[in-house]
């Protein structure tokens, strides 16, 4: 999990990558997780432009007071 989310140290990354190269089953499981992670990125939703403009107007209003 930590490797998947790039939280491992360079040494840990090296060790895990070495293990992945040697173990095809582990590699397959890891690939599944990578694909799933990519799919999760795709489910992201966008708020309406109106909501964004509302925030920007607020930021703009505050900027004028400073």
């Amino acid at each position: 999990m930590r490797r998947l989310y790039s939280e491992t140290s360079p040494e840990e990354t090296k060790e895990i990558d070495k293990a992945l190269l040697c173990d095809s089953e582990l590699q397959r499981q890891y690939k599944e997780l990578v694909l799933l992670k990519q799919q999760l990125d795709e489910v992201q939703m966008n708020p309406s432009e109106g909501a964004i403009q509302h925030i920007l107007h607020y930021a703009h209003g505050l900027q004028e007071h400073h």
Binding site: M1, R2, R3, Y5, E7, R28, Q29, K31, E32, L33, L35, L36, K37, Q39, L40, E42, V43, Q44, M45, N46, P47, S48, A51, I52, H54, I55, L56, Y58, A59, H60, L62, Q63, H66
Partner: protein, 217 residues
Amino acid sequence: MIDQKSSDSQLVSLYQSGNEGAFEVLLRRHKSRIYTAIYLIVKDRYVAEDLLQDTFIKAINVIKSGRYNEEGKFLPWVSRIAHNLAIDHFRSCKRHPEVVLEDGSRVFDTMQFSESSFETIQLRQDTKTRLRALIKELPKEQKEVLIMRHFLQMSFQEIADRTGVSINTALGRMRYALINLRKNMTKNNVAYDKNLYPKRPDEAPVLRNFTRGDEGD
């Protein structure tokens, strides 16, 4: 002119020194990730938009008052604000429940715009919508870690600290979240949707069973 590749910390500094455009770049860079995380917690598009606005307005107030001090880590900081607001709302809703449909809209909207039912049906067929629904169906603890790690980009250590569990428990919950999601995608025919693999269909994974004892990070 603002360099779109500027780091968050550079953008915050620019905004603090009066460059309004810098804040817009920050907002547009992180809006989808934070909005999605809020939505997955509160399950209502309109409430999620309100809370997204509250999140960034809070962030603006802190930055402009000179109280911002996150050592350059804007996203984890703004994520924490969003998460707190979403959880507060979720808790208050448990006391005052409101009927929300599977796609995040309210019953009233469907009644008001009944002529758009075809569009609604299409939306429900949409793979992304189905995947979001599957995320919402995950056990509470697993969903919480998934949202915090994937969408709010908190580290596993930070998740562990915020949820009061060990890092190994947080890692285990994330692992089960992904395993369960995968299983449910298979069950619901979401896994092999071509829309999700437009470039490399040959890389669709071979499905396998994970046992409960299959732990580790």
